[in-house]
């Protein structure tokens, strides 16, 4: 029998969120508004009396950030947790590190756990570097004796010996991160939970951190590691869990998991959303997006665009009830799920009044401002400003942006990798003046 140190069975985490609207009556008069405010206050008083949390909005909805999650992790494994934004990765780490309580299921953990969800947790700006090492160490669960023993090592790792007695508010952000990571890197725990903390600092320091993480896993300790950076995951982990909308959809070899992660959204120029299985939310009381299509300038279906070319997105929306001054939008995300553009009808001054029936809209994006790579397209509708979306599909289709000037040039690829997180391309003109 293998030595299992973390076992999750049917783990679930529920949050309750509120919506402003149920039924859709809008407040006609001051009297109505006051009446509704009174009802709201009364409901809050009832909540307080019963010891519930306050939830703004008049209707409530349960959202399962994690749902029926099962996995086992053996001693000494380095396991990556991957998934798009909102898939539940960070919630999972919070549950495992006991910061928040799970709603269903059971988790058993064998060994001392340290969680590193942020670098520099508890740092106080007024205190010196030396004082903050002790403070941060204690926060992460190190004893005073342990910190004293490793103090010199921590200072050497951070390369900050000269600034030990300076308040950290005078540190540059790079120095701050170095000090924080140096403390974290010297944690001694059997199980380490790490959330995306390597995405900070300059390139040289990042490399140093990665090497340190690699050491940690080689000494037989168990690491659970959340990251959006697939390169880091592939480098550090042997196994990975793929989370999608709060569920583990794949657990196994890390390269298979990363491949599945990249192929989760179909590369296509149009999609019929009736049988859509991805992440979708909203009550769809007023409208429901039926299909999304991506076209080029001439109205032909297309999935590959050059940087700065024209893209047209066609939305077919089933209007269930009349809407005055409707708004809707198109979401444009990078391959990690990060929102790059939210094209909103309202920001372009388009506020159509809609009758019940099917309405088809086209939004023309004259120059698509993104660097080469894969991107996803989603869409949303909203019945009025300031309330939750009526229908929301975060990622429906995948498209590719290419650099038409440099097809077949391998150095172009290298440039994409090193663009340091930015995804937005803006065309500029260049000339030599001296």
């Amino acid at each position: 029998m293998t030595d299992i140190v973390v076992r999750a069975e049917h783990l679930g985490k529920r949050y309750v969120i509120g919506h402003q609207h149920d039924g859709g009556q809008s407040y006609g008069s001051l009297r109505d508004t006051l009446a509704h405010a009174a009802v709201d206050v009364w409901r809050r008083i009832k909540d307080v009396a019963q010891g519930h949390a306050l939830i703004s909005g008049r209707t409530r909805e349960d959202v399962w950030a994690l749902n029926d999650v099962n996995f086992e992790i053996a001693r000494g494994e380095a396991v990556g947790i991957i998934g798009r934004n909102g898939a539940g990765k960070s919630t999972l780490l919070k549950v495992l590190s006991r910061i928040t309580e799970l709603s269903t299921g059971r988790v058993s953990i064998r060994g001392r756990v340290a969680s590193l969800l942020e670098v520099g947790t508890g740092f106080h700006p007024e205190l010196s570097g030396r004082e903050n090492i002790y403070l941060n160490g204690a926060v992460l669960g190190m004893s005073r004796a342990e910190i004293t023993r490793k103090f010199d090592e921590i200072v050497a790792f951070a390369e900050l010996a000269r600034f030990l007695d300076t308040p950290v508010k005078r540190y540059s952000s790079g120095m701050y991160v170095r000090l924080a990571f140096a403390v974290a890197a010297h944690l001694e725990a059997e199980i380490l939970l790490v959330d995306e903390v390597l995405a900070v600092g300059d390139a040289i320091f990042q490399k140093k951190c990665l090497a340190k993480m690699d050491d940690v896993t080689k000494t037989g300790r168990t690491v659970l590691f959340v990251s959006h950076n697939m390169g880091t995951i592939l480098q550090l982990c042997s196994r990975a869990l793929l989370l999608e909308a709060g569920r583990v959809t794949f657990a196994g070899d890390v390269s298979d998991a990363v491949e599945r992660y990249h192929s989760a959204v179909k590369e296509d120029s149009s999609i019929d959303l009736d049988s859509f299985t991805g992440h979708r939310r909203g009550h769809q009381e007023f409208s429901r997006i039926q299909s999304i299509a991506i076209l080029d300038e001439d109205g032909r279906h297309e999935t590959v665009f050059g940087m700065g070319e024209t893209m047209v997105v066609r939305l077919s929306i089933d209007i269930k009830r009349p809407i005055r001054a409707a708004l809707f939008g198109v979401l444009f995300r990078n391959s990690m799920g990060l929102l790059i553009h939210d094209f909103r009808s309202s920001f372009d001054g388009y506020w159509p009044d809609l009758e019940a029936g099917t309405a088809v809209f086209e939004v023309k994006i004259p120059e698509i401002r993104a660097y080469p790579g894969y991107y996803t397209v989603g869409a949303w509708t909203q019945q009025q400003v300031g309330i939750a979306s009526d229908d929301y599909i975060s990622e429906a289709l995948k498209i590719q942006i290419i650099d038409r000037k440099r097809i077949g040039d391998p150095s172009a690829n290298f440039e994409i990798i090193t663009k340091e997180g930015t995804e937005v391309y803006h065309p500029c003109s260049w000339r030599r003046v001296g």
């Binding site: 059971r106 953990i109 969680s115 106080h124 403070l135 926060v139």
Partner: protein, 275 residues
């Protein structure tokens, strides 16, 4: 197997909670130390504030209640001394209450990122306030020397009353801290309690000026017992403890302490989702 086995289940009460508190005592001390260390940083006169504030309050209270209202002292004790004996526990109570109740929100960055028994945070503020109280005791010695007032053997009981002051502050402090994470309304309620409490507690006057038939009802305020105790210990034979009232105050203190801890424990696991 020597490794600890941890089971997480919904609303499972942890058997090791109190043992855990012991394990995290270093964090407790370091959080208290942090609050002390940063308290007077970037102020011009620094620690002098800890002296200036009580002296000014003492002057104001003596002027109003003794000179203007003409209230008597206890026995032959000088009026300012009697007021100061009450100000020690009162300012401890009021600042602990305000600091503790905001402590969870002020430390939300910790609470949402690491696990530790949350009880540590509000109780650490208590330690910080104890440091201020210690400064108060130095002032007290100066004041006694100034009035050439010698303490009696009663002074030996003072540590007991300090413990009572701690317990009296802890109960409501914990409860308010927990409630404050859920309902920020309490942020606005606490300054009221503190302001109001100064007038309904016998700080600027002696509790002996309260009519005898109201005395027991008056002792429902737990600070009445604490203040009477401090005066008894400091002023010696000049002060008399009204025992039925004192026991009632003690009872209220213990009830609030139990309520505070049990409410806090019940809400504790949701703090990270609320702050």
């Amino acid at each position: 197997m020597d490794e600890p086995l941890l089971i997480l289940e919904p609303s499972r009460t942890e058997r090791h909670y109190w043992a855990d508190l012991g394990r995290y005592r270093e964090l407790f001390l370091i959080l208290a130390w942090r609050d002390v260390a940063v308290r007077y940083k970037q102020t011009m006169i620094g620690l002098l504030w800890a002296v200036l504030r009580p002296v000014l309050t003492l002057t104001a209270l003596t002027l109003i209640f003794h000179r203007v209202a003409g209230l008597p002292s206890e026995g032959g004790a000088p009026y300012p001394l009697m007021v100061f004996a009450a100000m020690l526990p009162w300012s401890f109570f009021s600042s602990t209450l305000s600091e503790a109740s905001n402590s969870l929100i002020n430390n939300s960055n910790l609470i949402s990122k690491v696990y530790f028994p949350r009880l540590i945070v509000p109780t650490a503020t208590l330690l910080t306030e104890l440091v201020d109280m210690a400064i108060g005791f130095v002032l007290l010695i100066g004041l006694m020397a100034f009035y050439r007032f010698a303490p009696t053997w009663h002074i030996l009981s003072l540590p007991l009353f300090v413990v009572l002051a701690i317990l009296t502050s802890l109960g409501p402090g914990l409860w308010l801290a927990a409630l404050n994470t859920k309902y920020r309304d309490f942020r606005y309620v606490i300054p009221f309690i503190v302001q109001f409490g100064l007038y309904i507690s016998p700080v600027g006057f002696s509790s002996q000026v309260v009519e005898p038939e109201w005395r027991l009802l008056y002792s429902l305020n737990p600070m009445v017992g604490v203040i009477d105790g401090f005066r008894w210990a400091i002023l010696g034979g000049n002060s008399v403890i009204y025992w039925p009232g004192f026991s009632l105050s003690m009872g209220v203190t213990l009830l609030l302490l139990w309520l505070g801890i049990s409410r806090f424990r019940r809400m504790e696991k949701a703090f990270a989702d609320l702050v």
